[in-house]
């Protein structure tokens, strides 16, 4: 029978069954939305007035269109009105993870209806059960000695045992708390609600920082949770003057961000500027500090970053004690510290933990790494194309012998290699971990042996590209390294068209752009241009005991971080007592 059907299907024409095709069409009301907006605003205002005039207790609250600019209604004394409004705002029952739990609270001898709302998976269930529901439903039956006549005061003072409870008057405040893992509690007869911080969503634990590894020093890195991150900083900086100011960024994401600064140290105008920039952001969605960085930086188009992006709490704490400000974004394991300068971006957090000779050796190596990453390919182009006389004869002969069989001009040769290298680097980040080693083998084979054996490139170029790559990896700031990777291509082109003159033009233009740039009002090339006091921690590092002054260009409220004699034991006359060190 099946065979017969198959044969029939092959021989006889069968009309195809109609298939519903999906096309994403414009919303019906979208086109006319803009025209209606103005009318809507007027209507909303009129509606507000009418509702206010009528009996608020008996009329159901209606959700007003927020896009039309209407204010959300106040919390009603009628529980049913609040419940209806909450269901509408949270799209219950369409929204499946919204939990609304209705229950009764015993106040005196009366059972008062109440409900709580939260997102399943966002809250800590044990806390909700033991600290919210149990006291309200069970412990309220106990004979509590209280003279509080008001329900809200009675519940807050005697029933709710949870430690983080806020009494709020607006729905938006409750909604904000619920959206961030809290719960809202509404009680009949109250025109306020309780918002409890009962966050319990899953998050990564504190681990070693992935991008700023150090041999010596703390091994803790930030996580994606803002309060964990602020706590990590507070753990290091035990100072009540450390202020953590909260802001919400993003119309929809409502991403919590914190500005951190030390109240009696950071310049007020710096803090005000960070606050102003952060507060003025009007975007829909923000998820990471990288996006905040782009939204608050001084200049978008210069290649250098204008803030320090770090995942190390110890580094943030140290920079805060210099008088800087920091921004931490919920969902990002990177904190932003501002302002910064071109020289601080080549510092590693490890520098402070190492003895001065070692730290200074590393700083010299990093400076060389920057020069190599930026200029080496361009220099190679300039020397091979224009300034061959600079190369000693023996070396020149071996270079020429190596290049003899290469069919490409040196610019093509170097671009092939640099682009290949960038491809490997990008692929190395995207490739799944298990096949990562394969990439190394492919890269080594293609870029190393095969390219030379096929006379596509000369061996010296392999060395140039490899050393350039090493140089860029030695730069501590990932963003700063990007900057040099981009500019390197410019120097290659300039070096290949005009030799040292081209390189000079590149250096001049880059230098001019750098000295004209600013990071939160601080010149990017300070303390060299303009010259300010204290060159002790720029290219090289002073010993710990000699770092008396904070960076001058930050204009902190207190210029000195330690007395001139910070090692009391060097003064024999006071036996090491440094209480009068100044």
């Amino acid at each position: 029978m099946n065979l017969l059907n198959t044969l029939k299907g092959l021989l006889i024409y069968k009309e195809p069954e109609p298939v519903e095709k999906f096309i994403l069409r414009e919303n019906d009301n979208e086109a006319s939305l803009s025209n209606q907006t103005d009318n809507k605003q007027t209507d909303n205002k009129q509606q507000d007035q009418k509702e206010n005039e009528s009996d608020r207790g008996t009329k159901k609250l209606k959700r007003q269109d927020r896009g039309g600019g209407g204010e959300p209604p106040p919390i009603s004394r009628m529980l049913q009105n609040n419940l209806d409004y909450i269901k509408e705002r949270f799209s219950v029952p369409t929204n499946s993870d919204v939990m609304i739990r209705e229950f009764n609270v015993i106040v005196g001898k009366k059972a008062i209806p109440a409900f709580m709302v939260y997102y399943d998976g966002m809250v800590d269930r044990i806390v909700v059960d033991t600290d919210i529901l149990m006291p309200l439903m069970l412990l309220s039956n106990l004979d509590i000695k209280s003279g509080d006549a008001r329900i809200d005061v009675y519940i807050r003072n005697h029933l709710l045992t949870h430690n983080q409870i806020k009494e709020v008057e607006e729905f938006d405040q409750v909604l904000g708390e619920v959206n961030f893992g809290g719960c809202g509690i509404f009680v009949d007869g109250m025109n306020t609600a309780f918002a409890a911080d009962v966050k319990g969503f899953e998050h990564r634990t504190v681990e070693r920082p992935n991008t700023e590894m150090v041999i010596q020093g703390p091994q803790e890195g930030f996580t994606e949770t803002i309060r964990v991150n602020t706590a990590l900083i507070r753990k290091k900086l035990k100072d009540e003057n450390l202020i953590v100011e909260d802001h919400l960024v993003g119309e929809r994401s409502k991403t919590p961000c914190s500005i951190l600064y030390i109240k009696n140290l950071a310049n007020d105008s710096l803090v005000a500027e960070v606050r102003r920039r952060l507060g003025s952001i009007k975007v829909d969605y923000v998820q990471d500090s990288g996006e905040i960085e782009q939204l608050i930086e001084d200049s978008t188009y210069i290649t250098s970053p204008q803030m320090v992006s770090t995942e190390r709490p110890d580094r943030v704490a140290a920079m805060l004690t210099e008088g800087r400000a920091a921004v931490i974004v919920h969902g990002s394991p990177f904190a932003l510290v501002m302002p910064t300068t071109a020289f601080e971006l080549i510092h590693s957090p490890e520098d402070s933990y190492l003895r001065v000779p070692y730290a200074n050796l590393l700083r010299c190596i990093r400076t060389i790494a920057i020069l190599v990453a930026l200029l080496l390919p361009g220099l190679y182009m300039a020397i091979t194309n224009f300034h061959q006389e600079m190369i000693p004869t023996g070396l020149l002969l071996s270079l020429e012998a190596a290049r003899e069989k290469v069919p490409f001009p040196s610019i093509v040769e170097i671009l092939i290699m640099e682009v290949s290298f960038e491809l490997i680097r990008e692929a190395g980040i995207r490739i799944p971990g298990t096949i990562g080693p394969t990439l190394g083998i492919i890269g080594a084979l293609i870029l190393g042996q095969a390219a030379v054996a096929a006379s596509i490139v000369s061996p010296i170029l392999i060395i140039i590209v490899a050393v350039t790559g090493l140089g860029s990896f030695a730069i501590p700031s990932y963003s700063y390294a990007y900057s040099f990777r981009i500019l390197r291509f410019g120097y290659i082109v300039l070096g290949s068209v005009a030799g040292f003159l081209g390189l000079s033009l590149g250096i001049f233009l880059q230098g001019m752009l750098l000295v004209s740039s600013k990071s939160f009002g601080v010149p990017f090339f300070a303390p060299f241009a303009p010259r300010t006091a204290g060159l002790g921690d720029t290219l090289l590092q002073d010993p710990v005991w000699k770092r008396e002054r904070r960076p001058d260009y930050l204009n902190p409220k207190d210029n000195f971080r330690q007395p001139k004699i910070s090692r009391g034991w060097t003064r024999q006359n006071n036996g090491g007592d440094n209480r009068n060190g100044k």
């Binding site: 005000a272 005009a498 233009l509 300070a526 060299f528 010259r531 300010t532």
Partner: protein, 406 residues
């Protein structure tokens, strides 16, 4: 940040930035033909000629600085306005503009020709000149503040490079090359040497930046420091050149410092370090040309009371670019410089300011004068526009005052 915005009309340079600006402008000639020019004038006593006209420059600047004492925070154009009204300011401005453009075009041509000869022999002249032109236009667009900051960083490096060359050729020094001590004689040293005062003609930029300087005292200090450091570097270069090359050879050399660099030979590997000279030479040239174009535009804008300076940057760059092509070859350009520019530039640099200052003192009432002659803005007009948040240039000054605002 309000502090910064509020300070935008109070932009001043730190003393070091202003000193570096003048040093770079004066000593740029070292990389061109200065050591050979003094050797041509005075023979083996080129260094003595340098000392002579440097002392003259000091004396003339002393007079100017004394006359300037009453004109706090005014540039020479403001003072010309006081001395001769609108007409005085326009005449003074046009004379200065002529000097700056003439010098700029000649220097652009000389730098380009020299670069072509030492490094880019196969490239067309216009192509090489384009690199300098791009640099000076970019610098001018970014404004005076980044220019002076960049110069403040680069001048010590370039000076170190020059001193490195001078030290590395020490094995070739021969004191007998300085004999006879008076070289070509008194006329060569003191007669021709007088016109070498024009070497210090970039001092005109100092007379244009008082609105950006803290006070008269710093103006005087900056002037003396810049003159002293420049004189020292000019002396060192001419002395080293005379010590290395005998008189007949010294007249034939093209780009004397480059020729000195070519002699550096330490071991089998480090034989040809003169290419490094190209880097310092080119960067020094670019920043000097940036200064020239900026002040040409600045003088024009201020002379004719224009509101903005950016629209005239490109036209002025094109004018300089075109003027640089007027000499038919390098030798004509050098002739124009040594025979024409050197003959009159000193008078506009030193005599014109003295006349203007004297007239202004005669016409102005006794007592210190304000900073708004003829309604001119105190900052000289367009600096705030070119660097809207440039108050940080005053960091050092304000730091020294203990200012707490960021």
């Amino acid at each position: 940040m309000g502090a910064i915005t509020g300070m935008a009309s109070d932009i001043t340079f730190g003393g070091w930035e202003a000193v570096a600006l003048i040093i770079n402008a004066i000593c740029a000639r070292i990389f061109l033909n200065f050591p050979r020019e003094v050797a041509e004038d005075a023979g083996t006593a080129g260094w003595l000629e340098t000392v002579y006209f440097s002392i003259l420059a000091f004396l003339l600047f002393y007079i100017i600085a004394r006359l300037y004492a009453r004109f706090n925070r005014k540039d020479i154009l403001d003072i010309a306005g006081l001395a001769g009204g609108e007409t005085g300011r326009i005449i003074g401005g046009l004379l200065l503009l002529g000097l700056i453009l003439f010098a700029g075009a000649l220097i652009l041509r000389e730098y380009t020709e020299n670069m072509k000869i030492i490094s880019l022999t196969d490239s067309p002249l216009g192509f090489v000149m384009m690199f300098f032109a791009v640099a000076m236009v970019a610098a001018c667009f970014l404004g005076l503040e980044p220019i002076v900051r960049f110069i403040a960083v680069s001048v010590p490096i370039i000076t170190a490079g020059l001193l490195f060359i001078v030290l590395m050729v020490a094995p070739y020094y021969d004191p007998t090359h300085l004999l006879p001590a008076l070289g070509n004689g008194f006329y060569g040293i003191f007669g021709k040497g007088f016109f070498k005062l024009s070497t210090y003609s970039p001092l005109v930029y100092l007379f244009l930046i008082p609105p950006f300087l803290k006070d008269q005292k710093s103006f005087r200090r900056i002037g003396y420091t810049a003159l002293g450091a420049s004189a020292l570097l000019l002396l060192i270069s001419s002395l080293a050149y005379s010590l290395v090359y005998s008189y007949p050879t010294s007249l034939e050399n093209f780009l004397p410092v480059f020729q000195l660099a070519r002699l550096i030979n330490y071991g089998r590997f480090f034989q040809r370090l003169e290419s490094v000279f190209v880097l310092t030479f080119a960067i020094s040239a670019m920043q000097y040309l940036g200064v020239i174009l900026f002040f040409a535009v600045h003088v024009f804008k201020k002379t004719f009371r224009l509101e903005y300076h950016r629209p005239i940057i490109l036209p002025f760059a094109v004018i300089m670019f075109s003027l640089a092509f007027v000499p038919s070859n390098l030798m004509t350009a050098i002739d124009l410089e040594t025979k024409t520019y050197m003959t009159f530039a000193w008078s506009i640099t030193f005599i014109l300011p003295i006349i203007i200052l004297l007239l202004a003192r005669l016409r102005a009432a006794p007592g210190p004068l304000g900073a708004h002659p003829g309604g001119s803005p105190p900052t000289g007009g367009h600096l705030p526009e070119s660097s809207p948040q440039g108050a940080s240039a005053t960091y050092r000054r304000r730091r020294s005052k203990g200012g707490g605002a960021l």
